[in-house]
Structures are given as structure tokens and as C-alpha cells.
């Protein structure tokens, strides 16, 4: 079935064409073209709902890099179906909303290009079967989200928020990539389906646990789980449609998707269970707790999103416990946590999307989102208020809205799981429902804040930037549709359950699903159960806390700003920059001596160290030729001349001594039977000396080095050490000769190359290529010297480069 692959590609193609279309029809809002894409995709996908619900799956592969098994394989099953519908469905609504939200003065084509990129990437994430391709799209979502957050890039806050989100999500993505690599190493395949099939045999692989942790890292960063949640509030700098789409309904749920997708792989493991549900619950608590203190409506929603995501995450964690058992009637009970998670996932998208749009409307019409300045809007924008009410109450878990159902199921699941006696649940299990309950109380409180602070109370006209008036109709379309869903799902939950969630359950629990039905019926009323009491408790305590919130808000000051993770993030970044600047500048002195010192030290340590570590040193005098008197005197002359250079008082003396060295080497070459070398050496030496003389005339006199004694001493030690290592290696090589040289061959030079001078035959024939190249070297040097001297920088060139 090609449709799925095409469904991923279409948004990308559309993104390419958007700028052109925008140029061609500048008068029509480009959003209408963009709307076409998600709407079509939604309809197309929706047509598959019945077949998917019937247990059918679709796989299709397009080859990308088959050599490494990285292929563009798509897989449409229940789980991806839910997400795909959310992406395209909410996507369509958001596009409609944005058409009215964004004025045509903005650079709309950029906006829709990013949005479509994101949509395509997101579809890619949920449809990909190949984990590498999944990763590709995963990072693309991060990037497009980065671009969307920084849509108003001239604002500093937007840039900061974008930077933070990109850094955190991409880093998490890298972790996930490593995890994927490890996982593919374990399972020897890149296909998720195959991994699920074979992983059972490999759970004791040493890399199994690290892979799990790293993949979770990716999921947690993307889904803004504690403590990586800090990027999400800052991401609210994005235009509101973006927040509604990415940061509540879709992108943050990619992490959830990943957890769900990998539950069949890792589920049933204790670490997985505790990490996912533990982190989820912690996030639930921390997010809801922090949401209350926010004064910016969008920030409040951001924290609420964090907490809701934590809740969904924890439910997936709890549900994974079912995999620990085989199929039995008990284990089916535990899967209902997962069922609830999927259900809440859908519900959350509906009500949170609606709420974000409401906030966007308020912001758009009133000009502020600050809770301290808002109030009394109920009379001015009644329709908006109604939607806000529906959304908030659903979020708070009140009937008759869909949030109530999933919240109830969440309590049920938490209670059930706490009864288990695996994974040390007998000791810590009771914590689960307790934290869940506390988190729900806070959720209730902030939901109330949204409704009552914004729409009730005194209307403070003087504090608002714009005169308040009702929302435009077009902007209300999308939130109303979502609100209808919120209510609708409450009354017909089993429609969703049967067609969307059940197939997804089959994906998450493949081994259980073959044994029997995992489906559940959602009932609105199931008698006076503990979970109902819990809900009532939530409402009671929540109302109490809401009314007296000014009395207990003091506890927030217990958590000073400095101690938040957000501050930690900024602190570590600045520390990192300052620290690395300090470290780098401490060794990058720009002083040649220091650089050479590093090299020499490295040489001494590495070569000397290895020499002694391997015991390579050996010394053997027997092969040596005898030394005559003349040779002794030449050698002594050279040693004296060499050492005297160090103490030479004028540069000319030094050059002269260098000349002595050169000529003496020529004599040594004579002694060693190398006439050609001797000839070359003396001529080159003379020319070099002449060069030195020519240049030195224009250079300053050789001053005495005013170096501290310590520097001198270090230099001396280094020099001697370098000499010693050099000699030791040379001596060891002398005594450790392994083979005869190949040069015997060259002694037939006369027959082979027609020359009696072997050295010249080698240079001119056997190794003529070297000679040719060295001629080129010489040529480069010659021309180079010419250009160096002739091409001088004019004054006008000395501008920026010398800062």
C-alpha cells in the first residue's frame, strides 16, 4: 500500500510548493492551500479505520540505503492510526484557526512551510517501521518545531526558547539514536516489527538495559518529562496555533508514541515499569504543582500539558506490567492502564487543543495573557468562555466531559497496579494512587484558575492593551469542533474504544492479543467504586485549595527561582561557556614555544613511554665500523660548533657555526662514500648561508634571551630529553635490523638504467617521480618567496582581520 508512504511525502512536497503558490496568488491567504493537505490526508486515513479495526495492517517499503538496511518502510497499524488521525485532524483544525489568527503581514509562507514540514515529519515518526528512518523523522520534528518556536525570531525570548527546545530534544534524540544502534545490534535488524518478534530471546543481552535507558531518554526529552520539561514552557513563545498543534497535541506526544511503540520490546521489565510510571507520575505532580503558580495563561497551559503528558506516560508504564505475565484474566486487568493511556491521549488532544485556541483568542483580542490583568471577559466573549469551560472541566476530570472518563480509568489502573506483588510494588505500590490523586487535585485547581481568573471577576479595562471584543467567527470554528468532540466522546466513548483504541492495544500487546481480546468497554457509571470517591475527593479538596489559594501560595517561595531546573540549564550553559573559554585560552596561548612544547612533550611521553613499556630498547656496538682520528676530530668539531650556537653572541656567529656544521656534514658524507651528497650538501649549505646573510641584515640583532631561569631550565630539559629519546630509538633500530635493504637491486643500475652512478640512477630513473616532485617543491618555494616578498598588504586590507 503506497498511500502511507505518499502520505508522508505529500506534506514535504506541499512545503516546497507553498512559497511559489504564495507568490502566484498573493491575495489569497496561503493557509487555504495548506489546509488542503491535512484535510485530504485525514479523510484518506479515516477510510482505513474499519479495516485497521478489523486487525489488518499495511506494510510498504521503498529502498533508501539498502546496504545498511535503512529503508523507508511504513507500517500502518492501530497505534499509528490513532496518532496519524490526531496529526492530520488537529492539523486541519489548527490550520483553519491559524488562517484567522495570523495576519497576512507575517511571513506566512514560512509559517506554513514549517508547519507542513512538521506534519510530514510527524507522520513519518508514527508510520516508520525502520528505526533509523524513525530517527530521521524524529529529528525533523525537533527542527521544524525549532523553526516554529522561533517564528518571531527577532524576539530574544523566542530565540532562547527555540534554542533550549532544540538542544534538549536533539540531545535526547542522540541518546535515542545510540539506543537504536544498540537495539539493532541486539536484534540484528532495524525493523521494529522484527525487533518485537525476536527480542524475547535477547532480554538478557548486556546492552539491553542501556538501550532501553537511552531510548527512554529520547522519549522523555521529547515528551517534556521531568526534569526535561523545562523546554516546553519556553516553547510557548511560538504563535499560539503552533503551541496548540505541536506542544499539546502532536510533537510532545511523539515521546509517548515511542514508549507505546517500544512497550512490546521492553515492557515487562522492572526498570521500564518503574522508570516510565515513576517519571510519569513525578512529571504529573511537578507539572500540575507548578502550573498553579504561573501568571501567564500560556505558561500555565504549558505546565498543564507537562503534567498531562506525565499522566499518560505513567499509565503506559503501569500498563507495561501486564507483559510480565502471559495471557490470563488477571493480566488483562493490568492492560487497562494502557487502554486508559490511549484514551486519555485522544481526550487530551481535544480539550487541550481547544484550550490553547481559547487562550490564543483571548490573547489576540485582548492583547495580553497575563492572569493578573485579565478578568470579567465572560460578558464580552461568551462563546469563548463556553469552550474554555468545557475544556477546563474536562481537564479537571469533571463529567460530562471526556476527561472524566479517562481520569476515572487512570485511578482504576493506579489502584489495580498497586495491588501487584511484582517489581517491589508491595512496598512502593501504594505511592502510585496517592501521587496520582495529589496530581489530580492540583490539576483541578489550575483548571479552575483558567476559567475563573480569566472570565470572572472584575473587568480591568485599563490594564488591557486592546479594547476587548468578541472573537471573530473563523477563529471559533476549530475550538468549537474540538469542544464538540470533548462532549461527544463522553457520550459515545466506545466508538473510540472499538475503532481506535482496540487495534492499538493489539499492537502494544501483540503476544497477549493473539491469546484473546484485550478490548474494554468504557462505562460512564460504574457504581460507587474507590475511584469515584477519589474523584469526589479531588473536587472537594481542589475547590478548597482553589478558594484559599492565596493562603498557601507561600509554599512556592520554598522553591526559589535559583533552584529550578530552568536556572540549572542556564547556569550550566554559561558555566560551560566560561569554563571552556578559560580552559581553552589557558593552553591556546598563541605562543609558538608553548605549542612546540606540547609536541615535544607528547613525543617524549609517547615514544619514550612506549620504548620502555614494550622493552624495545637494545644496544649493540658490534656492528659498528671503527672510527679514525680524523673522524673523531670532525665529530668533536661538530659537537662543539653545535653547542656553541646556543651561546653565540651575534647572529653572524651563529650562521657561521651553522656553516661549519654543514661543511662538516659534507665531509662526513665524503667519509661515508657519498660523493653526490657531499657535493649537494656543500652547495646547498653555501646558498643557505648566503640566504641567511641576505635576510639577517634586515633583521634585528640576536638579542640575549630574557627568559626566566625556569623557562630556560625547562627548555634545556626538554631538549636533552628529545635528543635522548631520538638516540635511544636510533640505537635500538641499529641493533634490531630485521631485513636487508632492497637496494641491492640498484647495483645493476648500469644494465637497468644505463647509468654507472647508482645514486643518480635512482634519482633519475628508479625513483624519478620523487625527483620530479621535489623539483616541484623547489619551484613552489621559489615562486612562493617571490610572492611573499612582492605581495604586500596595503593599508586598506588591514581592517577586520586584525581585531
Amino acid at each position: 500500500m503506497l498511500t502511507v508512504n505518499i502520505a508522508i511525502i505529500i506534506p514535504f512536497l506541499a512545503a516546497i510548493f507553498i512559497p511559489f503558490i504564495n507568490k502566484k496568488y498573493p491575495n489569497i491567504h496561503i493557509g487555504w492551500f495548506a489546509l488542503f493537505v491535512p484535510a485530504t490526508l485525514f479523510v484518506t486515513l479515516a477510510r482505513y479505520i474499519p479495516t485497521i479495526a478489523g486487525g489488518k495492517t499495511y506494510v510498504y517499503t521503498i529502498n533508501w540505503i539498502p546496504s545498511y538496511g535503512i529503508n523507508f518502510t511504513t507500517y500502518l497499524d492501530g497505534l499509528s492510526m490513532i496518532f496519524a488521525l490526531l496529526i492530520t485532524g488537529i492539523g486541519s483544525l489548527v490550520v483553519i484557526y491559524s488562517i484567522y489568527y495570523l495576519s497576512s503581514k507575517e511571513s506566512l509562507s514560512h509559517f506554513y512551510v514549517y508547519l507542513l514540514l512538521f506534519m510530514g515529519a510527524m507522520l513519518g515518526v508514527v508510520f516508520s517501521d525502520n528505526i533509523m528512518v524513525l530517527y530521521v523523522f524524529w529529528e525533523l520534528t525537533s527542527i521544524s518545531s525549532f523553526l516554529l518556536i522561533a517564528f518571531w525570531y527577532h524576539r530574544k525570548k523566542s530565540r532562547q526558547g527555540a534554542k533550549k527546545s532544540l538542544l534538549i530534544t536533539i540531545s535526547g534524540g542522540f541518546g535515542m539514536l545510540i539506543g537504536f544502534i544498540m537495539l539493532s545490534g541486539i536484534a540484528d535488524t532495524l525493523s521494529i516489527r522484527e525487533i518485537v518478534l525476536t527480542i524475547g530471546d535477547n532480554t538478557d543481552h548486556p546492552l539491553f538495559l542501556p538501550a532501553m535507558l537511552l531510548i527512554l531518554l529520547g522519549a522523555f526529552t521529547k515528551s517534556a518529562q521531568f526534569p526535561f520539561h523545562i523546554w516546553l514552557p519556553d516553547a510557548m513563545e511560538a504563535p499560539t496555533p503552533v503551541s496548540a498543534y505541536l506542544h499539546s497535541a502532536t510533537m510532545v506526544k511523539a515521546g509517548i508514541y515511542l514508549v507505546a511503540r517500544f512497550t512490546p520490546v521492553f515492557g515487562g521489565e522492572q526498570t521500564w515499569f518503574w522508570l516510565v510510571s515513576g517519571v510519569g507520575l513525578l512529571t504529573l505532580f511537578w507539572g500540575s504543582f507548578n502550573a498553579i503558580r504561573q501568571t501567564d495563561l500560556k505558561a500555565l497551559l504549558a505546565y498543564s500539558t507537562v503534567s498531562q503528558l506525565g499522566m499518560i506516560m505513567s499509565m503506559f508504564g503501569m500498563g507495561s506490567a501486564a507483559l510480565h505475565f502471559g495471557y490470563s484474566t488477571e493480566s488483562v486487568v493490568y492492560t487497562q492502564a494502557t487502554f486508559a493511556a490511549l484514551f486519555h491521549l485522544i481526550n487530551h488532544s481535544t480539550f487541550k487543543g481547544a484550550l490553547f485556541m481559547v487562550v490564543g483568542i483571548v490573547d489576540h483580542e485582548v492583547g495580553t495573557r497575563d492572569l493578573r490583568r485579565l478578568g470579567g471577559l465572560i460578558t464580552i466573549m461568551p462563546a469563548t468562555f463556553t469552550i474554555a469551560l468545557i475544556g477546563s472541566f474536562s481537564m479537571a476530570g469533571l463529567p460530562p466531559f471526556n476527561g472524566f472518563l479517562s481520569k476515572e480509568m487512570f485511578f482504576t489502573a493506579a489502584l489495580n497496579i498497586s495491588q501487584l506483588d511484582i517489581f517491589a510494588l508491595d512496598t512502593w505500590g501504594t505511592l502510585l494512587p496517592v501521587i496520582a490523586w495529589i496530581g489530580s487535585v492540583f490539576t483541578f485547581v489550575y483548571s479552575m484558575i483558567i476559567v475563573f481568573q480569566t472570565f470572572f471577576g472584575p473587568y480591568q479595562k485599563e490594564k488591557l492593551d486592546l479594547p476587548a471584543h468578541g472573537a471573530s467567527r473563523g477563529m471559533l470554528v476549530s475550538p468549537i469542533i474540538l469542544a464538540v468532540f470533548v462532549v461527544g466522546i463522553f457520550f459515545f466513548p466506545n466508538l473510540v474504544g472499538k475503532y481506535l483504541i482496540n487495534p492499538a492495544m493489539t499492537t502494544i500487546f501483540p503476544r497477549l492479543a493473539v491469546e484473546g481480546d484485550l478490548g474494554q468497554t468504557i462505562t460512564i457509571w460504574h457504581g460507587f467504586q474507590p475511584e469515584l470517591y477519589m474523584t469526589i475527593g479531588v473536587i472537594a479538596v481542589g475547590t478548597f485549595l482553589y478558594i484559599f489559594r492565596n493562603y498557601w501560595k507561600g509554599i512556592y517561595s520554598l522553591f526559589p527561582e535559583k533552584w529550578t531546573f530552568n536556572e540549572l540549564y542556564y547556569f550550566s550553559l554559561t558555566q560551560l561557556e566560561d569554563g571552556s573559554a578559560a580552559v581553552t585560552k589557558s593552553y591556546m596561548t598563541g605562543f609558538l614555544r608553548d605549542y612546540l612544547l606540547y609536541i615535544y612533550l607528547f613525543f617524549i611521553v609517547a615514544i619514550g613511554g612506549i620504548l620502555f613499556y614494550t622493552g624495545a630498547f637494545s644496544f649493540d656496538l658490534t656492528g659498528d665500523e671503527p672510527v679514525t682520528m680524523f673522524e673523531w676530530s670532525i665529530i668533536i668539531v661538530m659537537i662543539i660548533a653545535g653547542i656553541t650556537i646556543l651561546f653565540a653572541k651575534s647572529r653572524l656567529t651563529a650562521v657561521l657555526l651553522n656553516g661549519v656544521l654543514g661543511y662538516s656534514i659534507a665531509v662526513l658524507f665524503v667519509i661515508f662514500r657519498a660523493p653526490d651528497l657531499a657535493l649537494t650538501q656543500i652547495i646547498v649549505e653555501t646558498v643557505t648561508t648566503v640566504l641567511f646573510l641576505v635576510c639577517y641584515y634586515y633583521m634585528p640583532e640576536w638579542k640575549k634571551e630574557n627568559k626566566p631561569t625556569r623557562t630556560k631550565r625547562i627548555n634545556l630539559i626538554i631538549s636533552i630529553a628529545v635528543g635522548i629519546v631520538f638516540v635511544l630509538v636510533a640505537l635500538s633500530v641499529q641493533s634490531g635490523k630485521l631485513f636487508e635493504s632492497i637496494s641491492g637491486y640498484f647495483e645493476n643500475a648500469y644494465e637497468l638504467a644505463g647509468g654507472k652512478n647508482i645514486v643518480n640512477a635512482i634519482l633519475g630513473d628508479f625513483r624519478a617521480f620523487d625527483t620530479m616532485l621535489e623539483v616541484v617543491v623547489l619551484l613552489i618555494a621559489g615562486i612562493g618567496v617571490y610572492t611573499l616578498i612582492k605581495l604586500k598588504a596595503g593599508k586598506e586590507d588591514e581592517n577586520i582581520e586584525d581585531q
Binding site: 651575534s650 634586515y698 634585528p700 640583532e701
Partner: protein, 143 residues
Amino acid sequence: MNEREILEFIAVLLILLGSILSVISAYGIVRFPDVYTRSHAATKSSTLSVLLTLSGAFFYFWISESFFSVRILLGILFVFITAPVAGHLIIRAAYRSKVKLSEITIEDELHEVLHEEDKEFIHKDVLEKEDREKILRNEDKQK
């Protein structure tokens, strides 16, 4: 000892003579008091020594291997021509750069001709390089 061996011996004797001369001139170069006197040792006796040695080598090759080496002859010729010139040049340079004469020098006739500008007769090894650079830099500035 046949004739050839005698000739060879003579050739080698020439070489030995040259080497002895070279040591003598080396001794001179250490012992003489100033550069002008030292140049006598270095250029005159040293040249003689090298001429002797080279002739010895030339004869040796001619005699023992009947190899008439043009190269050695050229070498002899070359040293013969250039060594005095080199000595001349270096001493002139020394004098112009005002290398002081030995304490025991009695008369310096050239001084008034060449160094009339500085009556004080500044004794310096070489003209200060720094001064030259100063001049050079001033020129640059003027440009």
C-alpha cells in the same frame, strides 16, 4: 723501491708537508694578536698548504693510476687565483668596519685616509647593527 714507488712517496711527502704547514698556520691563527696578522697565517701559509696537498694528490693519482686529473688541476688553479683575493677582501672589510688593530701596532697610515670622519678612533668590533637599523627605519618613515 722502484722509480714509481719513489715518486709516490714524494707525492705523499708533499701531502704531509702540506698538512704540517696547515698546522703551523693554524697555530698562527691562534697566536697572532689581531685579525690583520692572523690573516697572514690563514691566507698565505694555508694556501700554500692546500696547494701542496692538492699537488701531492694530483701527482699521486698521475703516478699510481696514471690518471691525469683535470679537476685537481682546475682546483689548484682556482685556489691559487682566489685565495689571495679572499684574504684581501676580508681584511679590507675588517679595516673598514673598524676592527681595532693590535696594541703593538706602531703606525696606521690608512686611518687618516679612510676614517677621517671620526677622529676619536672609536674601537668597535663591527659597526653597530642597531645604528644601521635606525637609519633604515628612518628611511622607511620618510618614505
